[in-house]
Symmetry: D2
Subunit: 402 residues, 4 copies
Amino acid sequence: MAATRRPGRNHLFIPGPTNIPERVLRAMHVPSEDHRSPSFPELVKPLLQDSKMVFGSTNGTVILFPSSGTGIWESALSNTLCRGDKVLTARYGQFSHLWVDMAQRLGLDVIVQDEEWGAGADPQKIEEALRADKDHAIKAVMVVHNETATGVTSDIGAVRKAIDAAGHPALLFVDGISSIGSLPFYMDDWKVDCAIAGSQKGFMLPAGLGLICISPKALKIAEGGTGRNDRLGHAYFAWKDQLAANATGYFPYTPVLPLLYGLREALAIVKEEGLENVYHRHHVLGEATRQAVAAWGLKPCAKEPKWNSDTVTAIVVPEGADAAKVITHAYERYNLSLGAGLSKVAGKVFRIGHLGDLNELSLLGAIAGAEMAMLDCGIKVTPGSGVAAASSYLRENPLHKA
Amino acid sequence: MAATRRPGRNHLFIPGPTNIPERVLRAMHVPSEDHRSPSFPELVKPLLQDSKMVFGSTNGTVILFPSSGTGIWESALSNTLCRGDKVLTARYGQFSHLWVDMAQRLGLDVIVQDEEWGAGADPQKIEEALRADKDHAIKAVMVVHNETATGVTSDIGAVRKAIDAAGHPALLFVDGISSIGSLPFYMDDWKVDCAIAGSQKGFMLPAGLGLICISPKALKIAEGGTGRNDRLGHAYFAWKDQLAANATGYFPYTPVLPLLYGLREALAIVKEEGLENVYHRHHVLGEATRQAVAAWGLKPCAKEPKWNSDTVTAIVVPEGADAAKVITHAYERYNLSLGAGLSKVAGKVFRIGHLGDLNELSLLGAIAGAEMAMLDCGIKVTPGSGVAAASSYLRENPLHKA
Amino acid sequence: MAATRRPGRNHLFIPGPTNIPERVLRAMHVPSEDHRSPSFPELVKPLLQDSKMVFGSTNGTVILFPSSGTGIWESALSNTLCRGDKVLTARYGQFSHLWVDMAQRLGLDVIVQDEEWGAGADPQKIEEALRADKDHAIKAVMVVHNETATGVTSDIGAVRKAIDAAGHPALLFVDGISSIGSLPFYMDDWKVDCAIAGSQKGFMLPAGLGLICISPKALKIAEGGTGRNDRLGHAYFAWKDQLAANATGYFPYTPVLPLLYGLREALAIVKEEGLENVYHRHHVLGEATRQAVAAWGLKPCAKEPKWNSDTVTAIVVPEGADAAKVITHAYERYNLSLGAGLSKVAGKVFRIGHLGDLNELSLLGAIAGAEMAMLDCGIKVTPGSGVAAASSYLRENPLHKA
Amino acid sequence: MAATRRPGRNHLFIPGPTNIPERVLRAMHVPSEDHRSPSFPELVKPLLQDSKMVFGSTNGTVILFPSSGTGIWESALSNTLCRGDKVLTARYGQFSHLWVDMAQRLGLDVIVQDEEWGAGADPQKIEEALRADKDHAIKAVMVVHNETATGVTSDIGAVRKAIDAAGHPALLFVDGISSIGSLPFYMDDWKVDCAIAGSQKGFMLPAGLGLICISPKALKIAEGGTGRNDRLGHAYFAWKDQLAANATGYFPYTPVLPLLYGLREALAIVKEEGLENVYHRHHVLGEATRQAVAAWGLKPCAKEPKWNSDTVTAIVVPEGADAAKVITHAYERYNLSLGAGLSKVAGKVFRIGHLGDLNELSLLGAIAGAEMAMLDCGIKVTPGSGVAAASSYLRENPLHKA
């Protein structure tokens, strides 16, 4: 008789949502609570303060929206920009593409620098565009830090240098949805004006909480700019209602209580591991994955080593093979969830997400599974080669620095 | 030594968020999952279908947003209306006030019919306004079904009749956040075009999921109206991306997984109890509360019996008493969370929410607590009178019809 | 259509198992773990140490058995006594009766002092019996501290004085299953030799963990007495295997992991509230219950005020009424779980348990429910009288001393 | 800064407790409940009936004790045997050794057939011993089905044939703690008289529930034999109190509520997968593990293939290596929990448990981890060889038969 239940757990290796630590799941298992009670600010205030750490900021202001990360894209744009404003951005994957699309739908005039999928933002081209913009018509530069679709990490520090080199006053908006909390992110150092994050990646929570960290500069523009800002209509994602309520430890509308408790626990976990340890661990696990890819004789989607993402690796299957089949087979036969290739790279790549609450042996199980799925689908790789290469690397490179 | 922990559970009698059944809390305790997996639509499709039942609709289309109810207000307006459009609404409490405010901030031209706080929407005045609007400049009528601030339920069926009597084509938008799932709501019968709900009231879930049920008429306007609609800029709350993804059982962005599983369980619970039983139970608990208020010699904020809400009772404290003190004392001494008076009625009323997953003895505990808190604050009520009256009523009136 | 689900929560007012705090439920939601791991003792050692606090002991040794409280009765007897040994005990309710029965089945020679159901152990009679036992044939005195069946608390301090006054070396075994963690219990002061507890009462956990606290004197007898002890055959409940493993922070057989984590959290809760606060709160809630009983014109099963239990009140229904009907009706109509009369008092009493994690308004809800159930069953009590009396008392008497 | 938290999950590969499916953990997250309520039997009765399926029995009677498996050993012996009774057993590992020890401590006269550790019970020797016992002094044959310490499974069907061939009336007691629910077990076919199980292995629950399935023959002896049975004193583990209460759907003492709800869910899971599928899956995962061991050039503790256990593999490390070091290192460096060698094989073997709710990729992660730990400890195995061999086998052998 065919089983109607699959044994064991699902192996989740998509680039988000990520595995939620059991501690966090437990912390979210809470009854309803009066979000106007006298004791509620004891929960809220530390969250707003402590989550700045993950953004690498002490100067910024964090707002938590009941929303996915997509909403936070909108919040950044709609609080600071006006209909018709010029923004500059680079596009090199599905998520940078979608952000461009949103900006256009909101009525912005988007200057798009298209890069090859597999490359990232080009600081030099950004600098040139800004230098050319003598009258400072460009109000903001938008960059997706980690392009989840291709496994590419752009260099935000270099983008900041480019803006400074051009002497341009544009705001810098960074989508850090699949990087913040996993990859080094230094909001204050990089003078990021809006850093955008979602709960379901490095924060190790379910989706549902959108986080934005706002620089004093952006805040000032949002507050002062009513004369102009009323042109980008918005209400739900407005900062001012949130800020007014947050000041006393409350929210303007009913918060997603379980996610607040989950965030508290997740921040505790991040502190216990140490942010620099978290970053190092992601690097080690990313590199182990790349060792496996190399041992298989395959290539990552990232065109050059400098673009390699430590949160997700997109792997290009050989000519003639169908990555979509590998993904479906891995799920159906081995209960392994891999990320699909999106849009331009659909069918050409599968992705292994290696971010969030993860360790060596979980990753090795996934590498073994990807290998088996490829073999079953007729892709010739040497059995055991991926695990052998990754495990040799991992034996030499502990997850945390001593 | 002073205790740093309060024994027993909090008694939550605010008008939302409501108590979450343990079954629902359990159902939400889930690991992360690939929201693009082949099996994901098995979860999603029934949710979109079954939740229509709670709206009293078979013709409508439900969309689920990661958002609080406030966002759904915006979604209704921004998908159907254009900058400068006229809308007609009545205002009689804090939530109808806030919706007006949002509409204005979004650039709509809002015609406000102010009613006394404690009354509801006046169908006759609505009819008159629509009759006077010969050229149909009014594009929508917005009504808050249950004004949570004052414990007043408006008669949506009568509003519909008024619109029909005026022969006016305006859309009908109803905020059912604190009514849907608790009070009789018949979207199709009342020809509501956008019915707005939040997960944290009658759906017995945490906040974080905004639900909208859309009539075919509204849907058509949203779809066809690109020529006009681009004026109310929006992206996150746009229906079209959701509808496109929903069609195959997916979402355009990462969903709040625990709330989806919670919704599935909550819908199962509603079916097991039966919607008409749910409505009847809310009526019985509401009436029991009113019996207690009468026995105390106090008056509800609702000016006439026809406005009485079966989900929340706002109780006016005697002249000279401070309702805010009663609320604080109830919380600090008896761990009872009552709703505060908001805005115009701050300090004058306290509110007992009696909606969601609730039965007789929980309510009687809260009535006892409200009485004790009033007595402690110097409000003269006869000890035991509230519970005596409410319990006598409850003995005669079972929660469910035989 | 008849509902197949009951709305709201069950009101649990039996004398155990008691309500489990949500924090404890969360703490128990844990994956499996290697109970032989190097880090396991970090969990175990503090439990063994900290749980002594609840017994009022610093000299004692606590052992945790995967077992209900019944098993701990056996553990106390079988580790210290030999087949045919004489033991002295008083019997005044179902649980003291069952312990006698067990002792007899284990082959002990039990001298039973029968007291009226509604009274407790009589220290004077105990002293007399011990004085008469010139050759010290009686090896142990067994007393049920709190007789759950009748709502009677015996005076263990007075029993100790009686033993001392008689100059008798008998061991003192106390069943504190429904008292320890709720009523004052001072193991060291009272020189109790085996104090017996179960997880499901004052420890606010599910059943499944039996706790015994053993005096040095009892331990010495158990260890040294091999020549004699082999007569009461036992293995599972033997102390020596447990003690040997406990010494290094392990257990001789697989422990009930969730209950260990639950115990850790429960002990933290007890510390946060403070044991003396816990005792005071139980007294206040017990007295409030008795005020309600008096206002109803009814009598407790406890024959004299000195026997009143602060964890459970057994209420005698009027001649001609059937307490069993009240209990069934309370459950079916109001979802209120009351305790039944057992054995001799079946049908004559119903019981309200008021122990564990409880506060005023929960108790008042139950009192209201008991009153309604009695009225529905034809027992004439004044509507609201019980809640009025209890709430007046509670307003004057805070749960915790200032 | 050193991290105080380990990232990711623990990889639990001890031979029990096993991984608890998330569904089961959720099902156990329940509030307290009145175990005397009218509706309680709706929970209990199906458990007692359905759990027989896992024992391969329709004739037997299941009793659930709040206890670990060790207690069930005692329950089997103490309900059927008398002090001084002769029992026959084979000893070939730590658990068969401990059962012998218990039987001796309970006062039984134990005839022990010692087998090499790595072998199992020898049916021929059992038959000979029984044939020699002309006057049927041997009252029971005790066999440990799966010796967890050495990874050896004995052939119970062959033992039954041996008893029958000898024409001996002895009872057959089988410890199925680490086999029942994982390995084929056919209680009725094998005419087992007491089958002993614990919740923490094939039942995929925490420890804390001991299960015994009793044949009609054993039941009759227990019931009728009072004249003799009083010699093995017992009370807690007595069957008669349980059976009397079970008959109406209750228990004689407070049950471990979460484990009852967990058992209900676990039985549902077993049904959904199908018992024969469960058995086949364990065989496939066991064989995959053995393929890895062979690829490493190592040997299992089981002396011959026929002894191989499909729930646990004990792996002998090369002369000079210390298995204890491998285990400690695997835990500390890779968060992998392996089973230790016990007693005679301490330091010589480490064990991989492959039972319970498990699938291919989890096992491959553990195999990778064991390999890395061995390499780190100086044991020369070819990197990747274990995973390569196991994964090749697993690609060819699906967990479930088509």
